[in-house]
Symmetry: C2
Subunit: 309 residues, 2 copies
């Protein structure tokens, strides 16, 4: 349960990184767009088909060297329900290949509404006598602004369904400090959110010392990242902000524990657009993504111990 | 622009309330479920078809007396992309009938990701030479934990597309105080969030004194509601928590200004399940919803001045 499967995959691949599947049409090679538009026209269906084909190529190229993918919901919702269909199909495909899927939705609500999100993204839903998996991720990013009422429906599902959540603690963006860095009764607000994560996680501990309640802490704030690693010893960290947003390999060292575990670092744009930087259009786009993913693994693990349980 | 259209509809209907379209299968009369399942089976498509038929009946019954509907995304996502299709169709139907649609998604992210959400829910997206409306609401609920980077993509779209947002300030749930009531540099966190709303809204003011940046403040905390009305004079309030959650008509009086404007009060369950309480199954479910919506209008407006511009 919790993040144990993710941790096992990280150890197996010796790779504490996740590839963000944040598709923009500009990122997709022409041959994939042409094929999709030829079949569905320049429509939302066509865009969704191009995205799915593109994602499958990336997943095929990286699944044996990268433990996880993180599709960002917004880039699928942008193309309507047709885009959401591509999200569900992407998640199913990545899971078929054995990857751990973190659905980046930053969902938040209370009570039965949050339960509906939990079912949508981590669970199953019943219709009459049948049961369906709506989106089917392994973990979901969430926003804790509403307090325990917004989290307990998730920890319940984490305990019954081998799933996890990542709560926003200290985000990677320039304005994250406007609220998160301000002093809440003597400590930064993000630290208070971190304490709540440790508390929420106490009811759903995994076998490797980390609970099912993880936290998002950005690579762009290395001091806070190291501070939060220490302050949240049972909280697995999802670390955005490496690469395009400015965080480097040295900046994320503090996110890890002495076994090289405890965190997973995300890269989206650098992997997705590697073919453009490497000038490898056409089918080569996927190999370019793999090369960048391997480069990222080497970059980050050079400062870490051999990753072990 | 901003909430001007909503305000005009509130004045026209003399009704500062919104009906939350939060469909659960238990709320839907048997004849609608039977028809949908007969056509699509007990599947996600079947559930989505039942929800859409149910919503259309409610909208047909209330559109001339209620200014707005608020579909809650979670209850559609729960049924996968098929549910999201029903969400898009519900929004389009309500807008055809002239209703103002508040998509309750509590979305949050940064930069180009937040822009993708803004396009998804309030804007248009281009695919090749064509343009599409992905979900097409008039307003979106959002979470401001990430600061200005998460809001500015929205205020940009509000200025170009006659749309609005509602930022979570003080939510209606029991645990909302765990974070929101704590002291942030001398004042409650929710008050700091309220100040940010006023600031974000200053770039997108409407003609009636309210900006395109509204706030969510729950009916279950009447003191804070009245306090925030005064502290955020340009911020239109979306008030959940009336009815099933425990807020009464006297509790929401403080949300309104001296013209009976400045707020819209939500009710979901009481309207959606009115047919069960009134024991009016079958086609009568919609008339029961209308009766409850009218009762709610009378209940709330009895303490307000005649609503005027």
């Amino acid at each position: 349960m919790s993040f144990d499967r993710l941790i096992q995959r990280i150890v197996k691949t010796q790779n504490p990184t996740v590839v963000g599947l944040d598709p923009k049409l500009d990122y997709i090679p022409e041959h994939l767009k042409s094929a999709a538009f030829a079949q569905y026209g320049e429509t939302l269906e066509g865009a969704a088909a191009a995205i799915l084909a593109y994602n499958k190529g990336i997943i095929d190229a990286i699944y044996d060297v990268v433990p996880a993918v993180k599709p960002q919901c917004a880039f699928y919702e942008r193309f309507g329900w047709q885009g959401m269909k591509a999200l569900a199909e992407t998640i199913a495909y990545a899971r078929e290949k054995g990857m751990f899927v973190i659905t980046d939705g930053k969902r938040n609500d209370i009570g039965s509404t949050m339960q509906a999100y939990a079912v949508a993204h981590l669970g199953e839903v019943s219709v009459g006598g049948n049961t369906f998996v709506p989106f089917g991720g392994d973990a979901l990013t969430v926003n804790g602004y509403l307090g325990t009422d917004g989290i307990s429906p998730l920890t319940e599902i984490c305990n019954t369904r081998d799933a996890g959540i990542f709560v926003l603690v200290k985000t990677s963006n320039p304005s994250s400090g406007e609220l998160q860095d301000r002093s809440l009764e003597g400590k930064p607000l993000y630290a208070a959110m971190g304490e709540m994560c440790e508390q929420w996680g106490s009811s759903c501990m995994g076998q490797y010392g980390y609970s099912a309640v993880g936290a998002v802490v950005g690579a762009t704030y290395p001091e806070q990242l190291a501070e939060m690693r220490k302050a949240m010893p049972h909280t697995f960290l999802l670390v955005p902000g490496y690469g395009a947003q400015g965080g480097g390999a040295r900046d994320v060292v503090g996110a890890f524990d002495e076994k090289g575990l405890g965190a997973i670092v995300n890269s989206s744009r650098a992997v997705l657009t590697a073919w453009q930087k490497q000038n490898r259009p056409g089918e080569e786009y996927a190999a370019a993504a793999r090369d960048e993913a391997v480069r990222m693994r080497e970059d980050i693990t050079q400062y870490l111990p051999k990753i072990s349980l």
